[in-house]
């Protein structure tokens, strides 16, 4: 049978997620809504009667029914029964923060007016009491016309009555009754227009007739509720509202109603908001008994330090430094473990299967490919853990508060800071973290520049190039590394500024940022969230990376030359004949070198090798030869592949521990005219190229998902690659002129 659907909704920071976790026993499922990247959290009510299963859907935090972000839009559309794969709610549970009653009730009363069976949970009554607000729940219930359950969700208080209430409604759905209420005392002219639109809505959408009154009010007072050219051009902002097409006549009716109101001197935008707040003020006065609050709240005391002129930035820098140190160093151990495990698995599979193309495909294509994604899992998990902790404690909004001034210089938002910072570890979680940014232009600008921050996959590339090309004294290696990181930051900020000035120009974004009270993080929930998000990353990026790696494997393996194979088979046979049994260390070394030579020769003959040669003309002005070209071609999927490819190209062997020996070989590499290939200038040019080039298929895949179109990831790849080429060109040409 169809489960009873409970929809959980409320303002951000009202404790909704805590309640969801408590009701579903941390066993919720996380996914995405079709077509948009808003987290969809769903779970079954624990302890529900098996005959009457209950599904709980946790909507994103929402301030009002006129959405400002994709998150809020999904919440509104579900409440308005506009999302195709979400059933009409059987019960709506609105969570209200008792210590912030008026603003929470603004949304709550909007929801109550929708006419769904509704229940209000008054959360954090303990905090409210500590602050001197004693709320009479019965009086509130009477004033709102819905049941009110007082609660301290974080301590499990009030959970049982809520469960019971949900259970009893699920088992006898016939008994619920709905009292439509309106919490606006609207001016007469306004009410009349709203009434007329309501009637028209009932006629056009009979299946949603109980929503008509609330929808009429929204249509009249929210100018973005009516579809306009602006909101309909992009799939991302209006992806799920296909079944909300309003007939032309209705749109015209709304527009003319607004004109009439304007003519009569009524501000149709603010009238309903002001009327509602006036009513809520009266309700609050009626249901709350105020006692003098304590001198200063703990949260305010913390804020005095954390946002202090001197201590604030200091604490911020310390927190960020600690975060990144641990992402780099803590993750190192599990990463080494994963690498060893993947290598061992590949070896085991490789030796237990008959050698051949299939063996090669599985070990070098599939296992190595998936391994190259899984290796980043520890970093991504740690990053999500820290972000979760920062969000859950309330520090995240303080970070945005502190950084907003700096980010606004390049036209961005304080909220863009964390995604950009996260991209130092990996652009993928960074891009996923842009979901908190409301304005579409700001979010896109942040997504477009995030991969310019030097991620951890660039580190192996920088390391080997620095070892091979840069003088190893006077701190040059460290200085070069620092320069590359700074170059990435400068590039990201500069490009953000350019995008905001040109492509993504919009009204300067308004910062409306709530600074919620600090709270102790719920570790279980944070860990759970970390794992859910990481899993989502693995699924999304993993499948694409696997496909691309198989493609690259194909390019690097085929076509096979039988002549070449024959030649090497002969040399192997020769070696076997000459070798003693068991082979001496010197003979083993000869065999190893022969194998490496074979791998290198085969790669040079392959499609990838030919591609490397084919793009050589484009690389010549940068001072790169076709061997570097092969590295650039194969590392298109992931930057770090550059290192392993060069190892194969220079016959060093593809093992990761060979970085040092690879650098030695690179140092002795000569061009046709006898000059060294890897001069400091070549190294620098190549590093500049890698700072700016996209070279990461997982990022492309994630941007595709997050923007819901191919347009942006393609644009991003093109602009980054062009930028990389141009800046590498400038570096090389200027360097050559200067005589390096």
């Amino acid at each position: 049978m169809k489960p009873f659907t409970v929809v959980l909704t409320g303002n951000p920071n009202c404790g909704k997620t805590t309640l969801f976790n408590a009701l579903t026993g941390l066993r919720g499922r996380v996914g995405n809504y079709a077509g948009v990247t808003v987290e969809r959290k769903e779970g079954s009510l624990t302890g529900a009667d098996a005959r009457f299963p209950v599904t709980i859907l946790d909507l994103p935090g929402t301030y009002a029914l006129s959405p400002q972000s994709p998150d809020e839009q999904i919440a509104r559309d579900i409440l308005f029964q506009r999302v195709a794969d979400v059933p009409a709610p059987d019960l709506v549970v609105v969570v209200v923060d008792a210590s912030n009653l008026q603003r929470n009730l603004y949304f709550a009363t909007q929801v109550i007016e929708l006419g769904h069976p509704t229940l209000l949970t008054l959360n954090m009554v303990d905090v409210a009491r500590d602050r001197g607000h004693d709320i009479d729940t019965d009086a509130l219930s009477k004033a709102l016309g819905v049941p009110v359950i007082p609660m301290v969700a974080s301590q499990g208080e009030g959970l049982e009555p809520l469960r019971q209430s949900i259970r009893s409604q699920a088992s006898s759905p016939g008994t619920r009754h709905v009292i439509p209420r309106e919490f606006n005392e609207l001016p007469e002219a306004f009410g009349r227009e709203a009434q007329a639109i309501e009637t028209a809505l009932e006629r056009h959408f009979p299946h949603r007739s109980r929503l008509a009154a609330a929808e009429a009010l929204l249509l009249l007072s929210d100018e973005r509720a009516l579809p306009t050219d602006k909101t309909n051009t992009d799939g991302n902002t209006n992806g799920n509202t296909a079944n909300t097409r309003y007939p032309e006549a209705l749109i015209e009716q709304v527009l003319s109603a607004r004109r009439r109101l304007e003519a009569a001197g009524v501000d149709w935008r603010s009238t309903a908001i002001e009327a509602r707040y006036a009513r809520l003020f009266a309700i609050e006065q009626h249901v709350t008994r105020e006692t003098p609050p304590p001198d200063e709240l703990l949260s305010d005391r913390i804020d005095r330090v954390v946002t202090h002129r001197v201590w604030g930035p200091l604490i911020f820098v310390t927190v960020m430094a600690l975060m990144f140190q641990s992402i780099f160093w803590l993750a190192k151990y599990p990463m080494d473990g994963i690498e060893a495990a993947v290598d061992a698995l590949a070896q085991w599979v490789g030796s237990s299967m008959p050698p051949g193309d299939l063996n090669d495909l599985i070990t070098r294509g599939a296992i190595a490919g998936v391994g190259s994604v899984v290796i980043f899992l520890p970093q991504i998990c740690l990053l999500f853990l820290f972000i979760g902790l920062l969000e859950d404690t309330g520090y995240m909004s303080r970070a945005a508060f502190l950084m907003d001034r700096l980010m606004s210089r390049v036209g961005l938002h304080g909220k863009s800071f964390i995604p950009m910072l996260s991209s130092f570890a990996c652009a993928i979680p960074g891009i996923m973290a842009t979901r908190t940014i409301e304005t579409r232009q700001d979010r896109l600008a942040t997504i477009l520049v995030a991969p310019l921050m030097s991620c951890s996959a660039r580190l192996p590339v920088y390391t080997v190039l620095i070892a091979a090309c840069i003088p190893q004294h006077n701190g040059w290696p460290g200085l070069t590394l620092l320069m590359m990181y700074l170059l990435g930051i400068a590039g990201a900020l500069g490009m953000a500024w350019i995008f905001k000035k040109t492509l993504l120009r919009g009204e300067p974004p308004m910062l409306i940022l709530e600074l919620p009270p600090y709270k102790r993080p719920m570790l279980g929930a944070v860990l759970r969230q970390m794992w859910d998000r990481s899993k989502l990353f693995l699924k999304r990026a993993g499948t694409v990376i696997l496909g691309i790696n198989i493609l690259l494997w194909f390019l690097a393996t085929y076509p096979r030359s039988s002549e070449l194979q024959h030649q090497f088979d002969q040399r192997h046979a020769q070696w076997k004949q000459a070798a003693s049994n068991p082979p001496t260390p010197a003979e083993t070394e000869t065999l190893k070198r022969l194998d490496q030579e074979e791998a290198g020769e085969k790669l040079r003959q392959s499609f990838a090798g030919r591609l490397g040669r084919a793009i050589e003309p484009a690389l010549k002005p940068l001072g790169f030869d076709w061997k570097i070209g092969i590295g650039i071609v194969t590392s298109f999927a992931a930057r770090e592949v550059f290192v392993s490819t060069l190892s194969v190209v220079y016959n060093v062997g593809g093992d990761s521990e060979n970085t040092a020996s690879l650098a030695e070989v690179m140092k002795s590499e000569r061009r046709d005219d006898g000059r060294k290939t890897y001069t400091p200038l070549t190294g620098l040019t190549l590093m500049v190229f890698y700072v700016f080039a996209m070279q990461c298929v997982s990022t492309v895949a994630v941007v595709r998902r997050e923007t819901n179109s191919w347009k942006w990831p393609l644009f991003q790849t093109v602009y980054m690659t062009s930028l990389a080429w141009i800046l590498a060109f400038l570096t090389y040409q200027v360097g050559t002129r200067l005589g390096f």
Partner: protein, 73 residues
Amino acid sequence: MRPLSTLIPGERAVVARIDIPPEQRGRLLEMGLLPGTPVELVRFAPLGDPVEIKLRNYHLSLRKLEADKIQVH
């Protein structure tokens, strides 16, 4: 009447008028910042912008650019 941004930290006032264009100020009104609402300026961020205010028992942060356009008395 004077702009909200001219209050000193800890000073309280009442919103008189919001001079932000109607089509941009919707969310601000929905957050409860309306003419007649008592507000307190809590602090400026370390770099002088944005500003933190307190209204209806919660804390909200706005840029000075907007706070300049909110008249209080």
